[in-house]
Every structure is written in C-alpha cells, then in structure tokens.
C-alpha cells in the first residue's frame, strides 16, 4: 500500500482539490455554491490529515481523530450556513452574495 503510491501523490491531489475549492469559494455568486467550495477545501484538508497519518505515524490514531472532528464540524457548518441562506432568502428574496450587501462599508 505505502510502496505503490508515494505520499507526495496524495498531497498533490489534496492540493488540487483545495485549489479547486478555493476557486469555487472565490468566484461563484450563489451563496450555496460558495459553501460547496468550502466543503471541497475541508475535504482536501481531511485527505491530507489521513495521508500524513498513514505514511508518517500509522500507530498513533491522532490523524484519524482530527479528520473525524473536521467531518463533524463541517456538518455543523453546513447546517448553520444553509439555515442562514434560507433565512436570507426569505427576507431578501435572493441568495446572490453580491446583492446581500447590508454590512458592506
């Protein structure tokens, strides 16, 4: 398993996933699409954590523990974010982040 794929390959895949998620979070107009980009970035971080755990210290479960924490917090973040967007949609009738500029200076 460890011999077939070098650690760097996993890290590069995770870096690509993170960069795509970053682009999605920066370039999209729809608030829910931005949330999707954030979820992609969290997944990339998780891949990194698990890859480092498997390759550098497989006997110590910390990598998987932190990956599980991130999954739980990402679920909480998605629930809060979507509830906010639904509330904004209800009061302002839009989910485009360019039109929700109430707090823009």
């Amino acid at each position: 398993m460890v011999e077939s794929v070098p650690l760097g390959a996993y890290l590069v895949v995770a870096a690509a996933l993170f960069a795509i998620g970053l682009y999605g979070a920066l370039a999209r107009r729809h608030a829910i699409a931005i949330l999707m980009g954030v979820e992609l970035m969290l997944n990339a971080v998780n891949v990194n954590l698990v890859a480092f755990w498997r390759y550098l210290s497989p006997a110590n479960m910390s990598g998987q523990v932190f990956a599980t924490f991130i999954i739980a917090l990402a679920a909480a973040e998605a629930a809060i974010g979507l509830a906010l967007f639904i509330a904004i949609y209800r009061s302002r009738d839009t989910v485009s982040v360019e039109e929700v500029n109430l707090m823009k200076w």
Binding site: A15, L17, A19, R54, Q64, A72, A83, V97
Partner: protein, 163 residues
C-alpha cells in the same frame, strides 16, 4: 510497486478532481450539488486506499448521505432567483480567483513533493478499536466539546431557519 493499486489511486483521484471541477464549472447550482456527490465519493475512495475504513464509511454516511442532500434541499428551497441556466454563476472577479487558486496549487504542490520518509509501521490491526480508544482516552475532552458544538449548531440552525 503494485500497478493495480497505483491505477486504482489514479482512477479515484481523477474521479475526485473531475467531480470538484464539475462543482465549480456547472451551469446551475443544482448540477454543482450533483457533481459534489461524485467528488465526496472519490474522497471516500481515497480513504479506503489509505486504510482508513471508518473514515470512508463516515464520509459516505455524512457527506454523501447528509451534507449533499442538505445542500440539494437548500438549493431547491431557494431556486427562484438564480435557477435559470442563462444567468452567469461567476462573479466579475473570477479571473483573479482562478489565478489565486492556481498559485495556491503550485505553492502547495512544490512543498508537497519532497523526500518524505514513510514510517515502516503498519496501522493497528483493529484500527477502529484504536480510534474508539483514542476518542475516549486522550481526546475525551475535544470529543465532548465537538458533540456540544454539534448540538448547539443544530439547535441554532433550526431557530435560524424557522419562520
């Protein structure tokens, strides 16, 4: 060097990245959500390759089963405004965003590709048992705090989304 495992890794990585590209390129937000499911499933495959079966199962259950469905529900509840395929999904600074993301990828890749010395140990035979013991042993306090955070977040989400 096992060619079979290497090719599985390449296939799973391509699935993950194609799904992710679909998320940021799709013409409608609903299609983005469907591509997101593909990307999440690919990440679960990466976990299987990394010998983390518990995380792979959790990824399928939580991301594919719960988060993706939640996102699709939210898209359908807010579809009136930007649902039509004609409306551009990108804002005016998407070019700058692409440059930033590409630079981010280059920097991360350059730091990633170096001579890592993999440990020769293998994971515990019953990795799930070891994970459970880690949760209820050294990580007991963070574990409890995360459960409280999740509870508070879900109650908050209900209050925010209520009429």
């Amino acid at each position: 060097m096992n060619v079979f495992l290497t090719s599985i890794f390449v296939i799973v990585s391509v699935i993950t990245l194609v799904g992710a590209l679909g998320v940021v390129m799709a013409r409608t937000v609903f299609a983005s959500g469907l591509w997101l499911i593909l990307s999440f499933a690919g990440v679960a495959g990466l976990y299987v390759l990394l010998e983390a079966p518990f995380l792979a199962a959790a990824q399928i259950l939580i991301y594919v089963g719960a988060v993706a469905v939640l996102i699709l529900f939210a898209v359908m509840l807010t579809r009136r405004v930007m649902g039509d395929p004609g409306v551009s999904q990108n804002n005016s600074q998407w070019g700058a965003a692409a440059v930033v993301a590409a630079l981010m990828f280059i920097v991360l890749s350059l730091t990633s590709v170096q001579n890592w010395r993999p440990s020769t140990e293998s994971p515990p035979l019953l990795a799930v048992n070891a994970l459970g013991e880690a949760f209820l042993g050294p990580y007991l306090l963070p574990f409890e705090i995360v459960s409280v955070v999740l509870l508070v977040a879900l109650v908050g989400a209900i209050i925010l989304a209520r009429e």
